[in-house]
């Protein structure tokens, strides 16, 4: 097939995002699809205008990883008027379902609750004071992962979040904020760390080490994304668990598009990717080696 597909990516704000871009390009190439890539530099307005430009160019289909859930109705309508199917990646939007073909996403709330559930099981009723490193204030992963985690531990009075502050999804802020947690609470009084992404957890691990404590042992660490460095940390015993957010959203999306364009098959409205839990029980070293090349 010589399809031309437009892909509106949010940006390249994290390693995970870069991996998603890489994987998408690889998947398109493997199928012989011409991919028009547009980086929105974290701005919704750029994404909307990119979509409009795709429509003006007359692409065959559009992939979009929306930066935020709201605000897409108008431009999706325009796409529909021009008979261009749109597939959402990573996240659904607050728009009527008929405006897009399907959404390939993970369930952010679910990820949070997997993390919470892991901690519940791990502590097995023992008291635990938790510190939380939130993502960027206002971003939907931060909100949903917080909600999911809180839901999971809400019935367990032995688990308590004692401090929660934003680490902006970055390594350096993760480290800085963890440092202040350690001082404010006293390292020995913290039993677990929940970070909304692995980068912050990796930063926090360094802070914990510098404070003379053993990450993974003195303080349990669970985070989300399963980037290579998190697997490495688990392999080294410095981290306990991570939940995978697969960067391969494009594979299922392109499959669905293929089927729709070639045979008119309507895909389901929501294709959920797996939120797999990785712990020390897995062969993290091997996974690390495998994922290293994916552009994380």
């Amino acid at each position: 097939s010589d399809l031309t597909i437009g892909f509106s990516q949010i940006g390249s704000e994290s390693g995970w995002r870069a991996a998603e871009t890489t994987v998408t390009k690889q998947e398109a190439e493997a199928r012989g699809i011409t991919l028009k890539f547009a980086d929105a530099q974290q701005k919704q307005e750029n994404q909307i205008s990119a979509l409009r430009s795709f429509i003006a160019q007359g692409v065959d289909a559009i992939l979009i990883a929306p930066v935020v859930a709201t605000g897409w109705d108008e431009v999706l309508e325009e796409a529909q008027d021009s008979d261009i199917p749109v597939v959402l990646l990573d996240r659904t939007v607050d728009a009527p379902e008929e405006l897009y073909l399907t959404a390939v996403t993970s369930d952010l709330v679910h990820e949070g609750s997997v993390a919470g559930q892991w901690l519940v099981d791990e502590m097995a009723g023992a008291d635990c004071r938790i510190v939380e490193l939130q993502g960027t204030t206002g971003s939907s992963p931060a909100i949903d992962r917080k909600t999911g985690f809180e839901n999971a531990i809400s019935d367990h009075s032995n688990l308590e979040i004692v401090r929660s502050q934003t680490g902006d999804f970055t390594r350096s802020q993760g480290k800085v904020v963890m440092e202040s947690f350690l001082k404010a609470e006293g390292g020995e009084n913290i039993c677990a760390l929940y970070a909304h992404n692995d980068d912050m957890a990796v930063g926090a691990i360094q802070a914990i080490k510098e404070a003379g404590l053993n990450p993974g042992k003195d303080i349990k660490i669970v985070a989300i994304d399963a980037v290579p460095d998190a697997h490495l940390a688990i392999a080294n015993g410095e981290m306990n668990a991570t939940i995978e957010l697969t960067p391969n959203m494009a594979g299922p999306a392109l499959d669905a598009l293929d089927a729709y364009i070639n045979s008119g098959t309507m895909p389901p409205k929501w294709i959920q990717t797996e939120s797999k839990l990785f712990t020390a029980a897995d062969d993290n070293q091997a996974i690390y080696e495998m994922k290293k090349g994916l552009g994380y």
């Binding site: 390249s12 929660s164 502050q165 999804f169 390594r171 350096s172 202040s180 930063g203 360094q206 460095d229």
Partner: protein, 344 residues
């Protein structure tokens, strides 16, 4: 150099710093406790000094740039580029010192570019440096290919996360470089010449000052300072994060320079006061972190605190206080403070 005038110059910053630290003490009683734990000093005050390092380093160059009536928006991006350069060099197996020198060279080149646009092409500094601010982060990502480039080189890591005699290396680096720069500009004629071109470039040029070279130099210094900051930040997290390293840090640096009592319109400057400004900002950040407030309030708190600091420092308020204090005709007062003209 350590004269009465010097103390008088930095007095407002010292007082403000004292007040902010006191607020820290209020929200966290153990704020001033410093312990010696596994070979390093450990405590909130140390954290403030350590975490203030990037801003403080940026401040050194930014103060000089602002003194020439310029501004350097690109420092955050230059940090990212330098961090990425250093990381990719050690990952390629180079010796850490080579990597650092490489990063500093790249920083200097970035500064040269800015200086070229400002001094030779005569593009307004804010726009000239905006170009590198936008493109620079792309360059940094080009080097790391969008990933966080991690490394395990002990030598490099030591610059960001290590200690010397128990004191975190970044603290030593910024105090050393800041002191060096402050000493250097005041012991040579550089300080005066920089101030002169900042106040009136036409006059300065006619007086025989080579304003172009000076302007370029100032931006190069700013680039190098940013590079040092970038290396430290990367070393601290053992990885070059091209996306986030130094993001929006240029604003903090500019803020610090202004809190340091330096005019954005160029002219008179004090590097030491700017450094105090950087530490004041970091103390405000520390206050926010220690207070345990939900993160939604971070920005509001920061904005209000900074506003309060700036209002207290504003020349107008200073003048009011001065008037309230001195009811007798202000004849024998300080000849340096210019009289305020009535403004209404």
């Amino acid at each position: 150099m350590i004269s009465y005038n010097f103390f008088k110059r930095i007095m407002p910053q010292m007082i403000i710093l004292g007040v902010v630290l006191f607020l820290n003490l209020l929200v966290f009683p153990d704020f001033f406790v410093i312990e010696f734990q596994n070979g390093r000093l450990f405590g909130n005050v140390i954290d403030v000094l350590n975490r203030g390092a990037p801003t403080a380093l940026l401040c050194i160059g930014m103060t000089l740039v602002i003194a020439t009536k310029g501004i350097d928006l690109s420092v955050g991006a230059v940090m990212a580029i330098a961090g990425a350069t250093a990381a990719s060099l050690v990952v390629d197996g180079h010796y850490w010192l080579t990597a650092v020198i490489g990063a500093l060279t790249v920083g200097a080149i970035c500064g040269l570019w800015n200086g070229f646009l400002v001094a030779i092409l005569r593009i307004q500094p804010i726009v000239a440096t905006l170009v590198l601010m936008v493109a620079g982060r792309g360059v940094a990502q080009l080097i790391t290919e969008g990933t966080i480039l991690t490394f395990l080189d002990e030598g490099l890591i030591h610059l960001g996360a290590g200690t010397v005699f128990g004191i975190p290396t970044p603290v030593l680096i910024w105090i050393f470089l800041g002191g060096l720069a402050a000493f250097f500009v005041r012991r040579t004629a550089l300080g005066m010449l920089i101030e002169s071109i900042g106040i009136n470039e036409a006059s300065s040029r006619l007086a025989g000052i080579n304003s172009r070279i000076l302007l370029i130099c100032v931006y190069v210094v700013s680039g190098i300072c940013a590079a040092v900051a970038g290396v430290i930040v990367a070393a601290d997290i053992q990885g070059a994060d091209a996306n986030n390293a130094g993001l929006w840090l240029e604003l903090d640096a500019i803020l610090a320079v202004v809190i340091g009592g330096n005019s954005l319109l160029g002219g008179r400057f004090s590097i030491v006061a700017s450094l105090l400004g950087a530490i004041i900002i970091q103390s405000v950040n520390s206050l926010i972190l220690l207070s345990g407030m939900p993160p939604e309030f971070n920005l509001v708190i920061k904005a209000l605190l900074i506003l309060a600091i700036l209002v207290i420092q504003s020349p107008r308020v200073g003048h009011l206080i001065y008037i309230m204090r001195a009811s007798s005709p202000p004849i024998k007062s300080d000849p340096l403070t210019p009289a305020k003209e009535s403004n209404r």
